[in-house]
Symmetry: C2
């Protein structure tokens, strides 16, 4: 009697070839965050339940996974631990716990898995990677960091080589000003209205317009606001023009903030065509207070926002009396990876292993192991056949594994002190001296690589 070997529902487990692509993409994000000066931290997968559930709403609480040791369960205790459901609550706890040891502004990246007991469905995961960056300061944080965070993610998403992306910018303070101007006043009504606006694409203009009027908006004002919302503004000078127009009337705060963010993005050298002002981006979460961003693939808007974030007034009010304003964003990586795979858009060129050194005859073993050693010396990922077997079978196995190149060295090659390099992707085969083997492998990798 064997037990069925299956993963739980709602996780993404990959075969080695896909894992290599997955990891190469994650590495690109990691290196990118590092390049922009966001050093990584890691927090435990579980936190105290009291820490995790302090300010979360009903939905989060329903989705949380409790963690309990066998002993604690036997005693009938309420679970003291739960798996993190995002990286923001652990960050808040981290900053509050280590406040005295950190230098502010505190910058960090964090690439870890998070857990949510959602109903499993295609592309929705119960365990998934988030890739976050945040900058946090005490009392006050320059708006320029809002631009820095945007510049970082625009650069990194372009490194990923998954097609042109556009960052959509907005400011919740500006939205509130505009809503107030058109008759929707009070925090709750405005928060409702912003949530409605966030659903514009899904629910259509008519439904949103009706709901805004129901919330107290005057019909003409709401209509002109929606005109504005439906027309993203492209490029820094057009954005500046629009903002000037808006701040002419009662609008304050938000428009000035956005103007400073745009100016800093220009100073940071962010390409003009990589971001737009999009007043429809209001980000449901009430958590954000100023700048908000979402990011879309130009050619695949149907994939939704692959990276979202914004500015918040106070990160960790539930754990410390220090006010900690910050700005950050998060790439929902597992969902992105799954979507790109579904759409056949995954970048290629990251084999799980670069070279397989074959072995045809027992007498070739030490020559073959010597070749492998020299390739590894050059940092090339190399596996070796340890017992002789038919060449065809070895090439087939290497191909199935997704290995890029086979090195074949039998008696003839050994006599000539050469080896044959076979590109398992194109079928091309060349014979090269052992001295230049590593360079030739690298050359061959560049040829078919991305």
């Amino acid at each position: 009697m064997t037990i069925p070997p299956t993963t739980p529902a709602g996780v993404l487990e990959l075969l080695p070839a896909e894992q290599a692509t997955h990891d190469a993409m994650l590495d690109t994000i990691r290196q990118g965050y590092r390049r922009f000066g966001f050093p990584p931290i890691e927090t435990p997968a579980f936190e105290h339940t009291a820490v995790l559930l302090t300010k979360s709403g009903g939905e989060t609480e329903r989705q949380v996974y409790y963690v309990q040791s066998a002993g604690s369960r036997e005693q009938g205790d309420y679970p003291d631990l739960a798996l993190r459901f995002d990286l923001t609550v652990p960050l808040a706890r981290y900053v509050a716990e280590h406040e005295q040891s950190l230098a502010f502004p505190f910058r960090r990246s964090q690439i870890q898995r998070v857990y949510r007991g959602e109903r499993p469905q295609r592309g929705r995961y119960r365990e998934f990677y988030q890739c976050d960056i945040d900058v946090i300061d005490r009392d006050e944080l320059s708006l320029r960091h809002d631009a820095e965070v945007a510049a970082t993610v625009i650069s990194i998403l372009s490194d990923l080589a998954i097609g042109k992306i556009t960052l959509r910018l907005n400011n919740r303070r500006l939205m509130r000003t505009l809503l107030g101007k058109y008759g929707i006043e009070g925090d709750d009504a405005q928060a409702d209205a912003l949530r409605e606006i966030d659903k514009l694409e899904r629910r259509g203009r008519e439904a949103v317009e009706r709901s805004l009027v129901d919330n107290g908006g005057d019909a003409a004002g709401v209509s002109s606001l929606l005109d504005l919302i439906e027309q993203p503004v492209v490029g820094p000078s057009a954005i500046r023009g629009t903002l000037d127009g808006l701040s002419g009337a009662n609008a304050t705060g938000g428009a000035d903030e956005l103007a400073e963010v745009i100016a800093t993005m220009q100073a940071l050298g962010v390409p003009d065509d990589s971001y737009v002002l999009d007043l429809s981006i209001a980000r449901g979460l009430d958590y954000y207070t100023g700048t908000v961003y979402e990011t879309y693939l130009d050619d695949h808007p149907e994939l939704g926002s692959i990276c979202s974030g914004g500015r918040y007034d106070d990160l960790a009010g539930q754990y410390t009396t220090t006010r900690l304003p910050g700005v950050g964003l998060s790439i929902g990586f597992t969902r992105l990876f799954w979507q790109l795979r579904e759409a056949d858009l995954l970048p290629s060129g990251s084999p799980p292993v670069t070279v397989a050194v074959t072995l045809l005859d027992e007498s070739d073993l030490s020559y073959s192991l010597g070749i492998a050693a020299s390739l590894r010396e050059a940092g090339i990922s190399t596996e070796t056949q340890m017992v002789p077997d038919k060449l065809g079978r070895q090439l087939k196995t290497a191909g199935r594994r997704g290995t890029a190149i086979a090195v074949i060295a039998g008696e003839d090659e050994r006599t000539r002190r050469t080896a044959a390099l076979k590109d398992l992707r194109s079928g091309e085969q060349i014979e090269v001296p052992v001295e230049t083997l590593a360079q030739e492998v690298e050359k061959m990798m560049r040829k078919v690589g991305p």
Copy 2:
């Protein structure tokens, strides 16, 4: 009222500077595993409880962390999920689940955290990294892979630059043969005896000798066996000599196996002084059937084995009827990191961020951001000061963060199109043209680096 922001007991959470060292070491292991052709896989943090607890004994079951969604808990269900307590059970499930899609011999590395509800104590963690490699084949797996796995870990531990290490080799089949020869027969008695021998260093010779005699061993035989056990054999020719002596009598199997492993290690170019035959290494776990290894720092044996593993006859008998022999090992990384930190042996030279570009005056902003952009272009991890501040304060903040180098560019430098590079570790400061800034940073990093 704020909630105390604390991590649960038994986790290792690091500040960014230590995290950078931690991650650089893990990267060395990751790159090393890749170099030797062990591509990474990842499995979910939780598995079905039925999958996880199938063959584990009482202690594992007591230490397991159950995972349960809020909904499932409310319904009073028995938890269907639990956190993995090692990477071997998930590997067995993975290979059995994906058997049809994998190419054999199947090779994989896996670097992930595992979870055990142990009593918290210094250096014992409830969440910790394991770094595993394994090679698995169907029906039969060449002994040469036992050598390959040993060669891989010897190379990687040397890359870590934490001091000279020695791999101690033994073979459980050989031990059983020797025990039988000296009167300790039967699987249970031999398993007991091997567990006793594994405790030799802690419990002393006398206690172990008594227990072996109690298990049926003849006194003279046990004494000569312990003589042998207490004297590790250094270098391949001495090892071969010892093995020849042993196989002269009734000894079979084990000695021949060890001889082949040693010969393959030589062919793989493993330095002769990096491994010894040590008959005291018997590895408590009955799981292993042939080759076993442990690995110690020469200068710090008190740290215990930092990497252990061996050969097993069948990986996944509980999930599949295919026989899957394999060989593998595991580095208990979190414990190793903690021990090296306690002993002040952590390798240096991995700052969380390499360069901090300072900003002295608003008018320098675009020059300063341009410098940062050019450093990032060269792949250098760079953070920028976004609002002008006193230089002393900026340098102090960068120093507290563990940043390696500050770039200072005020009006004078801007006019000369230069920048000052200040090594925050040594205090050295030089002025260089902006064109060569990236190279000069790299030069400075090499100077004080590891």
